[in-house]
């Protein structure tokens, strides 16, 4: 019983120590200290939440300023450095906060810009204290020693390069967003990027175009007199091409890849009528030198119309449900 009591007291003491430590960490030694800044920032962020309009923005601005100043102050006392360099971890944290503050906005707190500029900002923050020897902002600004200057220049140069690499990642990512059909291809031969996501089976935009185009073409053919349809098929290149352009403009307006798809028809005679192959040709980047295209085949046949008072022969069209991906150059035009 005694022992248990002792244990209890012991653990209580332990808890008390932790609490005391936390209290010591949280309470500022002086009015002018980093904790004050953090509290001010919390206070401003809470009050900005309650405020409205431009007052809210102003208070939030000061909140960010206090937060950045507080972390910068706290982390400059911290000797921990990023392994291999003399950049303090604190500079990384402060740089991150500054870049979020400077480039983030309401919809997305972390933007590409803030990530790209993070290393550079951190490097610049690392250099600032070197201009104030004595770690006291009151001392006069002076240029650091030659050795230190060299170190700082190298650090900033490497961080700029890292920023460039990050930006390059975002450029490639932007390509994949603007030209999503690239994702249906293989990146295995690439010397520059590796893929972390599974490759998609079909270029989505390509099959969307064909699926949207199919009813428009059916409309042009179904229940039209057979002779008219044959005439239409003679001019298929022009008809299908312009319909295709309309569909592409309408459905791919968001994507830069809309200029890289081209619709072409191929008409062949089959014993009972015609076969119309609608080809959607990808003229953009692809792994195979000849590229690839999507194909949807339609069978056009004459039938007698159901209409009672008109016994003429009309056309009927029947298309494949799915488009087929063919790797290689499209067949020659007639």
């Amino acid at each position: 019983m005694d022992l248990l009591f002792k244990d209890l007291i012991g653990s209580f003491k332990f808890l008390q120590d932790i609490l005391l430590g936390i209290r010591k960490f949280l309470t500022p030694d002086r009015a002018y200290s980093w904790q004050t800044f953090i509290y001010l920032s919390i206070f401003s962020l809470v009050s900005s939440y309650l405020a409205v309009g431009f007052v809210k923005d102003i208070i939030a601005f000061f909140g960010w300023m206090f937060l950045i100043a507080g972390t910068a102050w706290y982390t400059t006392d911290d000797p921990l450095r990023v392994p291999g360099t003399f950049m303090p971890v604190g500079a990384l944290i402060t740089g991150f906060l500054i870049s979020i503050f400077a480039f983030g906005h309401e919809e997305s707190i972390i933007t590409t810009k803030s990530i790209v500029l993070w290393p550079t900002l951190s490097a610049i923050i690392t250099t600032i204290p070197e201009f104030f020897p004595g770690r006291n902002p009151q001392t006069k600004l002076q240029f650091p020693k030659l050795q230190v200057r060299q170190k700082l220049i190298i650090l900033v140069a490497w961080c700029l390069l890292i920023s460039c690499w990050l930006q390059f990642y975002f450029v490639v990512d932007k390509w994949l967003k603007e030209y999503p059909s690239l994702l249906a291809d293989n990146f295995q031969k690439s010397a520059f990027v590796i893929r972390v996501e599974e490759k998609s089976k079909l270029p989505q935009n390509g099959s969307t175009i064909l699926n949207k185009l199919q009813p428009l073409i059916e409309e042009q053919i179904v229940t039209k007199p057979w002779a008219e349809v044959e005439k239409w098929l003679l001019d298929a290149n022009q008809h299908v091409g312009s319909l295709g352009n309309q569909v592409i403009e309408k459905n791919l307006a968001k994507f830069a890849e809309r200029g890289l798809w081209r619709i072409e028809p191929r008409v062949t005679n089959v014993n009972s009528g015609y076969r119309l192959d609608i080809l959607n040709i990808w003229t953009g980047p692809s792994e195979s030198k000849v590229g690839f295209y999507l194909r949807k085949s339609c069978l056009i046949q004459p039938t007698s119309s159901n209409n009672q008072n008109n016994k003429a022969v009309v056309a009927d069209i029947e298309c494949d449900r799915l488009s087929k991906l063919v790797i290689g150059a499209p067949p020659p035009q007639q």
Partner: protein
Amino acid sequence: MPETLTIPRVLPIGTILFELLFLLVAIPIEAYIFHSSFKFDKKSSMFYAITINVLSSVAGWIIFFLLEPILPLPIKSEIINYVLFNTFKSSSIQSFVVLTGFIIFFATFLFKFSLLKGLLFILNDSVKKEEVTLSVSRRERWHINKKAELLNTNLATTTLIANSLSYTAITLILLIRSK
């Protein structure tokens, strides 16, 4: 739309490794050239080599990032083809690539040369020493000027040699890789 972040689909690991490899090849070569022709000590020639090579890569990247959005679609398409599939789509691009290579070589040379001059100006403490000896005779002044001129041409030649050697090494690596 490009502002929003999404889960990464491709990572430019190869780009980073290649650039590191090129820098690891170019920096020692250029540092050696600076060491042997300028009589810099090993540490500062290493510093100059690192700085001008890394900063000229950064300059190249920045030019790429500025040009990339305004390039016409066919050229952009070729660049995407090269980055993602490691080939060019049209064969007529060959001469264009060679021309770009030449431009890049001379642009890097000019950039490295002016950067080196700037760095020597910022970092060399001998600048201050020269100010002290301003009260020399006219004849000696002429000699100093002549010396500076000589140093300038020497700087240009040395940078050109260093740049050519490092580009040769990188080209050799590329040739071996493409085999």
